[in-house]
């Protein structure tokens, strides 16, 4: 019996996707090389399902594919006109919520928000901008925090707690007032336990957490998502354990 036959499977837009018990729909799809757009999911972390960009349809209902357990025989729809339109709207909501100026952003071309927006055919932010006032934190000698670009995916919160064992980042407030905070008495990154080698510094999908003095080392135009759209890089996001880290 081949591997494919021995594993349970579901269909994603008509394509058979095998899965291992415990995998979610998104994890199984990515492992099989099938792309479903997503932002707050990261292959090394437990999915938490806040961005909702990976929302699909199954059994007549909307479901968050990164947190929905895969079940044998499920019929999942992802690339329908309706679902894609919803995703585009969700990404537009993220763009108007923060202050995203791609042309001047160091992360342009490496930014997942930008890449997903291009991929979904987003041509304008559509809604009125909120233009929130979010001061940057440049206090740390090696790391810059530009909260203007935060999409509240909580990856740095999770990475700092689960991988770095430090809890440098946390969330405060609620609703549109929800924001990322730094764990130190002063609230400044300088006074926190962060180190430039932390997983939390690496994991930001947008341009909030940046290393200082290495900006634009790769010219815009030659960056990851400049070369191939994010949807062509599905297997890069297949679930994998966090690599071992130096003590």
């Amino acid at each position: 019996m081949s591997d494919a036959e021995s594993r349970p499977s579901f269909t994603l837009d008509g394509v058979e996707v095998p899965f291992d018990p415990g995998q979610t729909v998104l994890q199984a799809a990515l492992a099989a090389g099938q792309y479903i757009p997503h932002l707050c999911y990261h292959p090394e972390f437990k999915p938490h399902g806040s961005c909702k960009v990976c929302t699909v349809r199954t059994g007549g209902h909307a479901a968050t594919s990164c947190t929905t357990p895969a079940r044998a025989g499920m019929v999942v729809e992802s690339e329908t006109e309706e679902v894609v339109a919803e995703r585009r709207m969700l990404v537009q909501l993220l763009f108007v919520e923060g202050n995203h100026f791609c042309p001047s952003c160091e992360k342009s071309g490496h930014c997942k928000l930008q890449a997903v927006a291009y991929d979904l055919g987003m041509t304008s932010p559509r809604f009125d901008h909120f233009f929130p006032d979010r001061p940057v934190d440049a206090s740390h000698p090696e790391i810059l925090l530009d909260f203007n670009r935060c999409i509240l995916c909580e990856l740095c919160v999770r990475a700092s707690a689960e991988v770095d064992g430090k809890q440098v980042f946390a969330l405060a407030g609620r609703g549109m007032g929800k924001h990322l905070v730094v764990n130190s008495a002063s609230g400044l990154l300088r006074d926190s336990a962060v180190a430039a080698t932390d997983k939390a510094v690496d994991v930001c999908p947008v341009g909030v957490i940046l290393r200082k003095r290495v900006g634009f080392a790769v010219p815009v135009g030659q960056r990851r998502f400049d070369e191939r759209p994010i949807s062509a890089q599905a297997s890069d996001y297949a679930p994998r354990p966090a690599p071992p880290r130096d003590p």
């Binding site: 968050t64 764990n183 008495a185």
Partner: protein
């Protein structure tokens, strides 16, 4: 600190109690609490910033919070707030310069039948007309301690207008528990007999979601993990709902009786009541009832003389957050965290409070469970409809002569309730609060029952003098204020809806904006993480569908109108210069 111990799960309770004498939480206090509970300062700050009743900035000596239910507004709370601010030289949301007061609005405090209502330092005041508002101002200006204010200001009426089997039943403490145990002995099935009875009674959750209580209890009972937990959801936050206020005030024994029979059936040993912060004033009496029940052998070890029956209840008090009424957010809050709804699976019955098997039920559900334990499933099913057994407490408020609590068997029509409460010229009923349904005149023959109108009990009546656009706009603000901010559609979508409604109010709306409201409403319903987001567009879609002219008469003429208000942008400059003459304005003033 001492009374709560040093577990991080107590963070919210410690913060709340630390704040009570001070009125706010200074930075030093937060740092001490973080050290004592061994949690990060960022987590402490994160929790403080989540709950609207916790303050990291100094507040006035008197903290006045006007209940901002739509029914309070209809009774004139907006005018009272303005008068009070003028009299006391205060601005909403900011402490007055002399430090005497801070005045602000808060979501419904559950006194819709006797509004306008407000909280002063956590204590509720009712029927605040102009005279009473002036009296309150004078009491504050003379710095009279709250304990010396006239008791009349704090008087809360029960307003029970119609009793059914639940409100009529004089169940004696312990009767339900003994009946549950006896039934198990008679049938030889022990605790299972209680689960069977609840299932046969087809009790559905009274909080509004209508989940089958028996299924929930049984799946929790089957978990091979102990201790199991019984939680009473007394976070009655749905605007327009106030029936749990009555149950917790007058029927506390029935509530605890129901929790105890649940514990018996499930095999649970720990219980919690999550009491909304707005009902903090009920805490002492509830604790006294618990203490009396312990003395009577109805809580603690060896309940009703059974060596194998141990169960006790503690009360946690919330701190101003609607989303904590969602069962999994409530459990997070019980654990001392920000109240963010969890992902499911796993269900709470499998992994709830501290990942222990947990059932969460509404206050009214436990009351019904106690009655089922005493009188049996057949008796319970003799009331209501085949699909919705038993009775429902309705919280009736708005434009009617007799607002209050009405208990009806399920199946009652909207029209019957309207007649009973003395409503005239009714154009709409919002059943189930803003997350429920807006019913127009052609729907008044529909029935309150899970198979037709599902409701947690809010029944808000609007007559022909009301502007349904403004009602929708009010609810849009409510959801934007109460979104927890976890998921994108609800966090950003509710604020966009609020802004669009404000834009239309300002006469700057267009057909395009109505279309956007509909699209956002549908996105929220489909893509949100929890029920709050799923419902957040509903009051707008509902009023837009039934009362479209109320929206359209506000629209500008063109297809698309810009949201940016050139004249509005000068408002700050006008305030600073004290000018309001025509020369200080731009363009056409609407």
């Amino acid at each position: 600190m001492e009374s709560w111990g040093s577990a991080p799960t107590q963070l919210l309770q410690v913060l709340r109690e630390t704040q009570e004498p001070l009125g706010w939480l200074p930075a030093g206090a937060l740092e001490r609490i973080a050290r004592a509970l061994d949690v990060s300062i960022a987590r402490v700050r994160g929790v403080v910033a989540f709950y609207s009743f916790l303050y990291a900035e100094p507040q006035g000596e008197y903290r006045v919070l006007f209940s901002d239910d739509v029914t309070d507004r209809m009774l004139g709370s907006g005018e009272r707030l303005r008068e009070m601010c003028e009299r006391l030289w205060a601005e909403p949301g900011k402490p007055s310069a002399d430090g005497l007061v801070s005045i602000d609005r808060t979501a419904s405090i559950g006194l819709c039948d006797q509004g306008p209502s407000l909280l002063v330092n956590g204590r509720p005041l009712t029927r605040i007309d102009a005279a009473r508002a002036a009296q309150v101002c004078e009491l504050m200006l003379s710095r009279t301690p709250l304990a010396q204010w006239p008791a009349e200001l704090f008087r809360i009426e029960d307003n029970v207008r119609r009793r059914g089997v639940l409100l009529d039943d004089p169940i004696r403490p312990g009767e339900g528990i003994r009946a549950a145990i006896a039934r198990g002995e008679a049938t030889g099935t022990g605790r299972q007999a209680m689960l069977d009875e609840i299932k046969q009674a087809r009790l559905l959750g009274r909080g509004g979601a209508g989940f089958t209580t028996g299924v929930k209890w049984e799946s929790c009972a089957r978990q091979p993990v102990e201790p199991r937990i019984v939680v009473c959801n007394a976070d009655e936050g749905e605007p327009g709902t106030f029936k749990d206020r009555l149950l917790l005030t007058r029927y506390a024994d029935l509530v605890f009786e129901g929790m105890t029979v649940a514990a018996w059936g499930i095999g649970a040993t720990r219980g919690f009541v999550y009491l909304r912060g707005e009902y903090r004033y009920l805490l002492d009496a509830l604790r006294e009832t618990l203490a009396r029940r312990r003395r009577e052998g109805l809580l603690g070890r060896g309940i009703a003389g059974r060596a194998d029956f141990e169960f006790d209840v503690e009360i946690h008090v919330g701190a101003g957050s609607y989303v904590c009424g969602e069962a999994s957010a409530l459990v997070e809050s019980l654990e001392g965290k920000r109240g963010i709804p969890r992902n499911r699976p796993p269900r709470l019955a499998e992994k709830g409070y501290l990942l222990l098997p947990t059932v969460v039920n509404n206050v009214e559900s436990y009351c019904a469970a106690a009655l089922i334990a005493l009188h049996g499933a057949a008796w319970f099913c003799s009331q209501g409809t085949p699909k919705s057994s038993g009775t429902k407490l309705l919280s009736v408020s708005g434009d009617c002569e007799r607002p209050g609590i009405y208990e009806y068997p399920f199946g009652v029509t909207v029209r019957e309730v309207l007649e009973a409460c003395g409503a005239r010229d009714t154009i709409a009923v919002q059943a189930g609060g803003p997350s429920g349904v807006c019913l127009g005149q052609d729907e008044f023959d529909r029935r309150i029952a899970f198979e037709d109108i599902e409701t947690g009990g809010a029944f808000v009546v609007f007559d022909g003098t009301r502007d349904m656009f403004e009602i929708g706009r009010h609810y849009a603000h409510f959801f934007a204020d109460e979104s927890c901010g976890f998921c994108t559609p609800c966090r950003v979508g509710t604020s966009l809806l609020r802004n669009l409604m404000d834009k239309i109010r300002d006469g700057k709306g267009s057909q395009h904006d109505l279309q956007t409201i509909e699209e956002l409403g549908r996105l929220l319903a489909r893509a949100s993480h929890c029920g709050l987001g799923e419902s957040a567009g509903r009051p707008l879609l509902g009023t837009l569908k039934r009362f479209r002219p109320a929206y359209e008469r506000r629209l500008g003429s063109s297809a698309v109108e810009p949201a940016f208000d050139l004249d509005g942008a000068l408002a700050r400059a006008r305030r600073m210069t004290g000018r309001d003459d025509p020369g200080a304005h731009l363009g056409d003033e609407r």
